[in-house]
């Protein structure tokens, strides 16, 4: 090798090495930037989901207030006016008025029940278990389905936001069971374990084949299941759903404590 070319050869090798190191360094830095970007994106998505839920809760609370203060009041007024009617002339009229009063009373109770279950402030003041019991009693009274609450903890140490989320998921699941399962028995359970709270719902309805379950879980266009999964994501809970044809459906939500 010509001695004059030694230095340029070393310089050339150094240049190629520097360029290679530069590109490797860029790859590492870009990976870091990508991770940071992904984290920011997730935080943004989380904040967006939370505000979406907050808005929905606020809307439900407004509807609940409207039901209680306006429609409930009109129904009560109607009942008072019925009570103020002059004594009826015939037995038939007595019976009709009594029946109307009974219907109005039922309407007022339903409005109150609905208003209570829609308003998140009630979950905060009464607690999750009491609100769920109230709803279960209401469903049992309807006679369509028998709902059992087991295991049922006496008290749960949960953040009020998480309680509202769990309550909404419970409502959504019950709603789905009533609409689609054709079940006549439902077992709801909340179990507080060392590291997690397990919330489970099981029915004895028609269930569904594996393919339908997979489609429902991953490509569902309905809002109910999507909302439950959204809420689980926000509170960091895992969602599991199992079902077999004619063997009912089992749902569990595991919330780390």
């Amino acid at each position: 090798m010509n001695p004059d070319s030694t230095i340029p050869l070393i310089a050339g090798t150094a240049l190629v090495s520097v360029l290679t190191v530069f590109i490797i360094l860029f790859v590492i830095l870009y990976k870091k930037a990508q991770l940071r970007f992904e984290l920011e994106r997730q935080q943004f998505e989380q904040a967006l989901l939370e505000s979406e839920v907050e808005i929905r809760e606020q809307t439900l609370a407004d509807i609940a207030r409207e039901l209680h203060d306006n429609i409930g009041q009109i129904a009560s007024l109607a009942k008072i006016q019925l009570n103020m009617l002059p004594p009826p002339a015939s037995d038939e009229e007595v019976e009709k008025i009594a029946e109307s009063k009974q219907l109005l009373q039922h309407l007022i109770t339903e409005i109150r029940g609905l208003s209570n279950s829609l308003n998140y402030e009630n979950v905060q003041s009464m607690g999750l278990i009491a609100m769920m019991e109230k709803d279960i009693n209401r469903i049992n009274k309807s006679g369509f389905v028998k709902v059992t609450f087991h295991p049922k903890p006496t008290a749960l140490s949960l953040d009020s936001k998480i309680s509202i989320f769990l309550y909404r998921m419970f409502q959504e699941t019950i709603n789905n069971i009533l609409k689609h399962s054709e079940a006549n028995q439902v077992v709801i359970g909340i179990e507080e374990k060392a590291q997690e709270i397990v919330f489970s719902i099981e029915d004895n309805g028609v269930g569904m084949p594996k393919e339908k379950l997979q489609k429902l879980l991953h490509d569902s266009t309905g809002n109910g299941l999507k909302n439950i999964k959204h809420r689980c994501k926000i509170i960091g809970a895992s969602f599991n759903m199992e079902s077999r044809p004619n063997m009912g459906t089992f749902i569990s939500i595991n919330l780390p404590t």
Binding site: P8, A11, G12, L19, Y30, K31, F37
Partner: protein, 184 residues
Amino acid sequence: MITLIFISELTGKFLQARVDTNSPAYHVSLFIQHICFGLLFYYLIPLTNKLRAFILILGFTLALTAILTGLFYQGLFTFPSISASLLSVFVSVCSIYLFYSMIKSPVNTPLLKQAWFWFASGSLFFYSITFFVLGYFKLLLESPSPVPDWCYDLLHFANFVLYGCYLTTIILAAKSKLPTHEPR
């Protein structure tokens, strides 16, 4: 860029065979390369409108310089050309800025599947080596020593890297619609 590379390579080979030098084609292709790279970086680098316009103007100015030096200062048969060195600096700096802008605004796609990563890598690799080799050629031409073989090997290697990277860019760009940066 593909057409330009294809034409300049073919013309270079033709002239080499006929008149023993590819210099005229080399000078003319430099003029077009300055414009093409100016336009490419104008569309690729996310900068303010003024700075992007500056890159474009710089590309055109360097293209004009290539013509002027080729015709009036160095001549069409001189090698290495000043314009080639200027082009190397221009492309290397713009490529480094393209890398920087990629780090500033990352996307979810894996880096190795991003066309502009391969474009910037190939351009930086080839043009910084070219800048170094051209400087060394200049020194050698002023001295009696012959050009060593490793110099040609290095240029061949850099060419392979450049064409490999550009080919990957074209394949990846064909697969997906490439994002260009909107002016700020």
